[in-house]
């Protein structure tokens, strides 16, 4: 199988993939709002919306129609242009980020094999980092332009929180880049197939950092400080109603979807079907191969429609699990205080992520020195080192010392506070 030639069919295939992925993301986002309400209802022993259509199936459509027909309000003192620009800037990067994530094995067509990724660009992960940090502009502009004190505080909090956790997010990605030696996500998937282990094992602590930063980046509980209802009404989108509110909502869920897809791709093998070698295929000298034989000659892969569908199902299942995790955590953990959020980001995650990058780089170089080839043994050695680092992180680094509640302050600050508390009794 050869790749599709650059030309008319390449662009046509690209446009078809764009439309398919864009519509699937929008539909998935609509049903994630329903899933959120249903799952939260089940967690709280309620039924949730189940009246519009069977099992509430048509609820997202009804919500959409309601939102588009409702009256929009805008404070008379708001900055009109930026008030409109805010939601647009929030939703544009959110819907465009999914483009570089591969979602299935290449599909054979009469014109050549088509990669199942919208754009397999050489910058890969860097595109995602760049676009996801653009999202912060939408929130800050919305908060500032509303001319509302709560919205303003929400926008400020959103900006400080998102840029803080972007540092830890970038550093956790560096460990992945060291393993793959490339920044494209197709290569990340291929290296996990070749290693025989998903990166969640050899890079366990990076996965922890990535999950925590992803929750903070998407402003989901326990990090939803920018829209903490009990403090800020709803934060930066307090003044937004109807469709403009919907745009922020869609943007947030699209970010959740992209973050879940990224967790699946970077750490859980992407579209790789576990324990099965038949789906291993990658491009080598313009041919789609599944690996190399003993003599080092390439072995041709046999892409087919059902392999593409099986890998697509595998990718969808992994992504759906992480979407569920986002909802599950939301209804399990209480919200942090703002100072705890910032302390966790700067005093715990940043130094630990830096140390972890140095530790993993050193381990990889030692393994190379010992002559261990990139393969299962290499992966297992890294799994051991990384597992120890993860254990150390959880057991020694933060036991109420840096990110603690009020009782921790009393315990660790010597004298004054403790005696003040005692004299109050």
């Amino acid at each position: 199988m050869t790749p599709i030639e650059p030309g008319f069919w390449f662009v046509a295939a690209g446009a078809a993939k764009v439309l398919a992925v864009f519509s699937i993301v929008m539909v998935a986002v609509a049903y994630m709002t329903l899933a959120e309400r249903r799952v939260s209802a089940f967690i709280q022993d309620r039924l949730g919306p189940n009246r519009v259509g069977r099992f509430g199936w048509l609820q997202p459509i009804a919500d959409g129609i309601k939102n588009i027909l409702k009256e929009e309000t805008m404070p008379g003192t708001a900055s009109r242009f930026y008030f409109l620009l805010g939601p647009a800037l929030a939703i544009i990067p959110a819907t465009a980020t999914f483009a570089v994530i591969p979602f299935a094995a290449p599909l054979p067509t009469p014109k050549g094999a088509v990669d199942m990724v919208v754009a397999d660009v050489p910058v890969g992960i860097l595109y995602i980092l760049a676009l996801s940090s653009l999202a912060v502009y939408g929130l800050v502009l919305a908060g500032w332009a509303s001319n509302n004190k709560y919205a303003f505080l929400g926008g400020l909090r959103a900006s400080a929180q998102m840029i803080s956790y972007e540092v830890a997010l970038g550093l956790s990605l560096i460990a992945v880049l060291m393993m793959t030696g490339n920044v494209t996500l197709t290569e990340v998937v291929r290296q996990q197939q070749e290693l025989g282990l998903w990166f969640v094992l050899p890079l366990s602590l990076a996965f922890v950092f990535f999950v925590v930063s992803a929750f903070a980046e998407t402003n989901r509980l326990p990090f939803d400080m920018p829209e903490a209802e009990s403090e800020l009404i709803t934060g930066y989108h307090t003044e937004y109603s109807a469709m403009k509110f919907s745009m922020f909502f869609i943007a947030e869920y699209a970010h959740v979807l992209t973050a879940s897809a990224l967790m699946a791709t970077l750490f859980f093998g992407g579209w790789d079907v576990p324990f099965w070698k038949g789906d291993n295929m990658f491009w080598h000298d313009g041919a789609l191969i599944r690996g190399f034989d003993e003599a080092g000659a390439p072995v041709l892969a046999a892409p087919s429609l059902w392999i593409t569908l099986a890998t697509l199902a595998s990718f969808a299942a992994k992504t759906a699990f992480f979407v569920f995790l986002f909802i599950w955590v939301r209804w399990t953990l209480p919200r942090f205080r703002y100072d705890q959020v910032m302390h966790l980001g700067w005093k715990v995650m940043l130094p630990a992520a830096l140390g972890y990058v140095v530790l993993m780089a050193g381990t990889m170089l030692v393994l190379a020195q010992l002559g261990v080839e990139f393969g299962l043994r290499y992966g297992l050695a890294l799994t051991g080192v990384s597992g120890l680092a993860t254990l150390a992180f959880f057991f020694f680094l933060d036991r109420d010392r840096i990110v603690g509640g009020a009782h921790a302050k009393r315990k660790f600050s010597s004298g004054r506070l403790a005696s003040a508390a005692a004299s109050n009794d």
Binding site: S164, L171, G181, E239, D339, L365
Partner: protein, 118 residues
């Protein structure tokens, strides 16, 4: 390959059209019955007091400045990270020194109270 960027441009275009389309569609379809109360900022039902464009805590600036330093650090590490295994020990030591310098910077900021919020 430069051609691989074409679908990226298409999806960015589709996203922009989608965002503009949503705003325009609701603007055309929704009713507009403004009242003075609707045009007031919503601050929990209270009549807003004071100016929103007031001064706010300097800590947000501190965070932004620290972010520039440490995010650039992550960006500088990426080119090394992708070639790390081929480059070997020499660049590793160089990167280690770079990280140590920044860690000292972080420790200084921490000690000076730049990361405190209470």
């Amino acid at each position: 390959m430069a051609t691989s960027y074409i679908p990226l441009l298409i999806i960015l275009g589709v996203s922009v059209v989608n965002a503009v389309g949503m705003a325009v569609a609701s603007h055309v379809l929704n009713p507009s019955r403004p009242t003075p109360q609707k045009a007031m900022p919503y601050e929990s039902g209270m009549i807003p007091l004071g100016d929103t464009r007031a001064r706010f805590s300097i800590k947000f600036y501190m965070v932004a400045i620290s972010f520039i330093v440490f995010d650039l650090e992550a960006i500088f590490l990426i080119p090394w990270a992708v070639r790390m295994r081929e480059l070997g020990w020499g660049p590793f030591v160089a990167v280690f020194l770079f990280v140590v310098v920044l860690a000292v910077g972080l420790a200084y900021e921490w000690k000076k109270g730049g990361l405190e919020w209470d």
